[in-house]
């Protein structure tokens, strides 16, 4: 069973990230996947997140307890959710939006300037798809084919091609990163002065 959290701020499409990944896994990769999102005031503006639980069998507990993959697309989200990441987990960040502290334990860190890439493609709204492509490449939780198949219905049909291009951009960048070492990213980031970490709020149900 694998637990994934996509996080960022409202409007970045992090819920969509969860939906696309969950749909890809459930409908095209022959896995069981539930997707839940944070609902309510916290979903509007500030840190918001979606959580995907992936399993070979039916998911019995639909919330994440100790995520092994965290995608953080904003500083707030990073501060809020990084502390719950497993010691041996994978952290994926938007390198332009998240200034991170030195990675804990054996956490593997992957970074991509997804928002900048999206802006270069013409619109930052594609940042989530760039990120999804990157996520797909570096985690291998889901196949890129399934992800692309999941897009129709979840992105506006007139932008389907652009979304696929954004996905591929992130995916290619991810493969490149994998072929090099990911330590570079972590070290480079650790040199920048880390912002003072805010204490992660105890979240209900979190174990």
């Amino acid at each position: 069973m694998r637990e994934i959290r996509f996080s960022g701020y409202g409007g970045q499409g992090v819920i969509r990230c969860g939906l696309i990944t969950g749909k890809a896994l459930s409908l095209f990769d022959d896995k069981f996947a539930t997707m839940n999102q944070s609902i309510g005031p916290e979903a509007r503006g500030s840190a918001c997140s979606s959580q995907v639980v992936v399993s070979e069998d039916r998911v019995l507990y639909p919330y994440i307890t100790r995520p092994e993959i965290l995608v953080a697309m904003s500083q707030d989200a990073y501060e809020k959710y990084e502390p719950e990441l497993r010691e041996d987990g994978i952290l994926i960040i938007d390198t332009d939006l998240v200034r991170m502290r030195p990675a804990r334990g054996k956490i593997k860190v992957f970074g991509i300037p997804s928002t900048r890439f999206a802006e270069e493609m013409g619109n930052r709204i594609f940042a989530n798809l760039v990120m999804l492509g990157f996520f797909t490449a570096v985690t291998k939780v889901v196949t890129p084919e399934a992800m692309k198949k999941a897009l129709p219905g979840l992105v506006p049909s007139r932008f389907l091609d652009l979304n696929i291009r954004a996905f591929e951009k992130g995916y290619t960048y991810g493969l490149e990163q994998l072929s090099q070492t990911n330590i570079g990213v972590a070290e480079e980031k650790s040199k920048t002065p880390a912002t003072k970490p805010t204490p992660a709020k105890a979240r209900k149900g979190k174990k």
Binding site: K23, S26, N36, V59, L60, Y61, P62
Partner: protein, 388 residues
Amino acid sequence: MKKVKADPKGVLTGAHYLDGDFAIAEGGLAAGCRFFAGYPITPSTETAERFAERIPYVGGVFIQMEDEIASILALIGASWAGVKSMTVTSGPGFSLMMENIGLACMMEVPLVIANVQRGGPSTGLPTLTGQGDMMQVKWGSHGDYEIIALSPDSPQECFDLTIKAFNLSEMYRVPAFIMTDECVGHMHEKVVIPPAEEIEVVNRKMYEGPKDKYLPYKPDKDHVPFMVKAGDGYRFHTTGLTHDERGYPVINAECQDWCVRHLVDKIRKNAHKIIEYKEDGMDGAEIVVVSYGITSRVAVKAIQDARKAGIKVGSLRLITVWPFPEERIKELAKKIKAFVVPEINLGQIRREVERCAFGQAPAIGVPHCGGWVHNPDDILRAIKEAAK
């Protein structure tokens, strides 16, 4: 009662990735629901949104009413016009509907209400889960009556059980309820919608005799009276007052006895046909976990862990919470050591289990005030405790 294949117009055949709220709307459309009146309330609103979006392509009416009272009244009106109708709500809206859920029972009108439960009482936890309306659905309106309530544990069951709720509602001329919760309502998961010809849909039995001989409340052999619809020339009368077979008000104890017993008997005497539950590992079970909805899903994890620890645990998952499988609980109580009843309230169904067990076996609750689903470990602990 007429069993037919579903109208393909409303059936979105295929594999989808939907949340429970959406799946309820799709279940309704597949069952032939063509009228939806509702009022936005978290965490149920997505059902109304989905219906509003889909219905123009299917052919039907969506109307956002001024409140939940208006919503249920509009449903009763639409149902008397012969159209399958549904609404969706959550705690506060459900409370507002109560008086007229009684009217629907009294007038014997088929309709479906989904309650995506959240933490209560009052405004409580609008965005977080609960199962605190399980007794309200049964007893919330005044007087004696019976309803049917189903509890899905997944978006797939939200779809399947909404169809079942419509079928039971039409079969017994009674409001039927989908008692789900925020967790299932907002959980996305794979939902497979079969082809229309594989979906069986029940339509209410319509009276076809001479127009002046129609009696709207004369029970048939199965205790359920025949129905007609407004505009077909029967010029019938129906009322929320205690009434006779003609639907005319009769204000005395004799008629009250006949009228109320009929409303109750219609369901109680057919309960064996309505009740559905799923059992697992009952052979030699010492402990039986009785659960429903999302809690039954989380409980599976605890049951698996308990079995690993060598405890003989069976599972009784309620699909229909009301009518309650009284006989089965009675039977089990004689054989087992204890029931464990986890639920996201402080013991509503636990008490029902206790009542049915009649002192033969204790019913140990795993209470939870709401806001989150159980930690499976808490259920496991209760099972271990019960097995001691």
